[in-house]
């Protein structure tokens, strides 16, 4: 039994033309037993910055609070908004600071920078991060998610196409994973605002 697989999760962040999307499932389980079907795993950290936290649910909630605290402190001290790249580095540093007793989280970050260009990054539980221009995935079914994203992704999608791609990739992947699913949520971030939609999939 792996601690990162105790609660179950599936999430994707993907880039489009001047937009980014981030999607996650809604299940919270304790191994085989499902405990909640509307557990939040994706959090807004700014009007154009979202973070997805996959892994141990306790750490999901604790890290969310910690990141909000660090972000607020930054914005008060610096008197400016935190950019997605800086947030991603902050997250990496927070995770590495617990190198020998880590948070059991493998996060993904999606946002638009000051020029409204997509910023995507993912990291492991001790802060090793990667930055990509297409997509990042995390959770208990990353094989499934990688396969779907690699096949369905094309560059420069508009917000509606991006939504469809994220929805299909997530739903098909979680349906072959016992630990994730029970619905989904997709956020599409554009220069003018964020569009959020709930997904209805197999409820098992």
């Amino acid at each position: 039994m792996s601690i990162l697989e105790y609660n179950g999760a599936a999430m994707i962040a993907m880039a489009g033309k001047n937009c980014v999307g981030i999607a996650a499932d809604r299940r919270l389980g304790m191994q085989a037993q499902t405990v909640s079907t509307n557990f939040q795993k994706v959090f807004p950290m700014g009007d154009k910055l979202y973070v997805g936290l996959a892994g141990l649910a306790s750490d999901v909630q604790t890290l969310h609070q910690l990141l909000e605290y660090r972000l607020s402190l930054y914005e008060l001290n610096e008197e400016r908004k935190m950019s997605p790249q800086v947030f991603s580095t902050l997250l990496s540093n927070v995770l590495y600071s617990k190198r020998f007793g880590p948070y059991f989280i493998e996060p993904i970050v999606a946002g638009l920078d000051k020029d409204n260009k997509p910023v995507l990054s993912g990291s492991d539980l001790i802060g090793a991060s990667v930055s990509t221009d297409d997509f990042v995935v995390s959770g208990t079914c990353t094989g499934n998610l990688f396969g779907m994203c690699e096949t369905l992704y094309k560059p420069d999608m508009d917000p509606d196409q991006l939504f469809e791609t994220l929805a299909q990739a997530l739903l098909a992947s979680v349906d072959r994973d016992a630990l994730s699913g029970w619905g989904g949520v997709v956020h599409i971030i554009t220069p003018t605002g964020v569009m959020t939609k709930e997904l209805k999939g197999r409820q098992d």
Partner: protein
């Protein structure tokens, strides 16, 4: 502490099979690996058991080779006794029985079988290493299985889709198989080099090849 001798080695690779109304497609990559090394870029994972039935196997090459030999011999004995080749559902059952005979020291082979049944309809059977099997519309097995199966669920099974389902023809399905292997080749280190695709109809078996990245 000392590493115990393991009788198994994992030689990698991915196999896939899809059935249609009057055909079946079986495909597999041609890479043979061991650990991080590539032993060969051109070794077939597909085996024609009868003129109407193809077995695709990934796993431990030596067990796969032995399994094929055993199936060939049993097939020949059947043909000798019954004066006709084995039908696809019979081959499917025979493979299951052969695998279960080695229940306590299994063949390390992950199998998919594709062919046409007695009525001429496409048939695909998926197996585990000890012989549990089921007839399914499509299947994938091997190291790249996780990358391919959700794609097949979405495109062939039409799952989680609201648009109208259309019947896919052979050429369209072959293109989907190629897309699947390109994806698996990108993300799975054991899958790559090239793909061998066999299309089985009541008239016989056609083979085609498709190149993948060699990295």
């Amino acid at each position: 502490y000392e590493h115990r001798f393991s009788p198994y080695d994992f030689n990698g690779g991915t196999t896939i099979a899809i059935s249609g109304p009057d055909f079946a497609i079986v495909a597999a990559d041609t890479r043979l690996s061991s650990g991080y090394e590539i032993l060969s870029r051109d070794v077939s994972k597909l085996h024609e058991v009868t003129s109407k039935c193809v077995l695709g196997s990934a796993g431990c090459k030596t067990d796969v080779d032995q399994l094929r030999s055993v199936l060939d011999i049993k097939g020949k004995v059947y043909q000798h006794n019954h004066r006709k080749p084995m039908s696809t559902p019979s081959v499917a059952q025979m493979l299951s029985n052969t695998l279960y005979q080695r229940r306590m020291f299994p063949y390390y082979a992950f199998n998919v079988m594709g062919g046409v049944d007695e009525e001429g309809k496409g048939a695909v059977y998926s197996y585990d290493a000890v012989g549990s099997f089921e007839r399914t519309p499509y299947s994938a097995t091997g190291s790249g299985q996780a990358y391919m199966i959700p794609l097949l669920d979405n495109v062939i099974g039409h799952k989680n889709r609201l648009d109208e389902k259309k019947e896919l023809g052979v050429e369209e399905l072959v293109e989907i198989v190629k897309d699947g292997f390109v994806t698996a080749g990108e993300r799975d280190i054991y899958t790559g080099d090239s793909v061998e695709i066999k299309v089985i109809t009541k008239d016989g078996i056609q083979t085609q090849r498709f190149n993948l990245k060699a990295d």
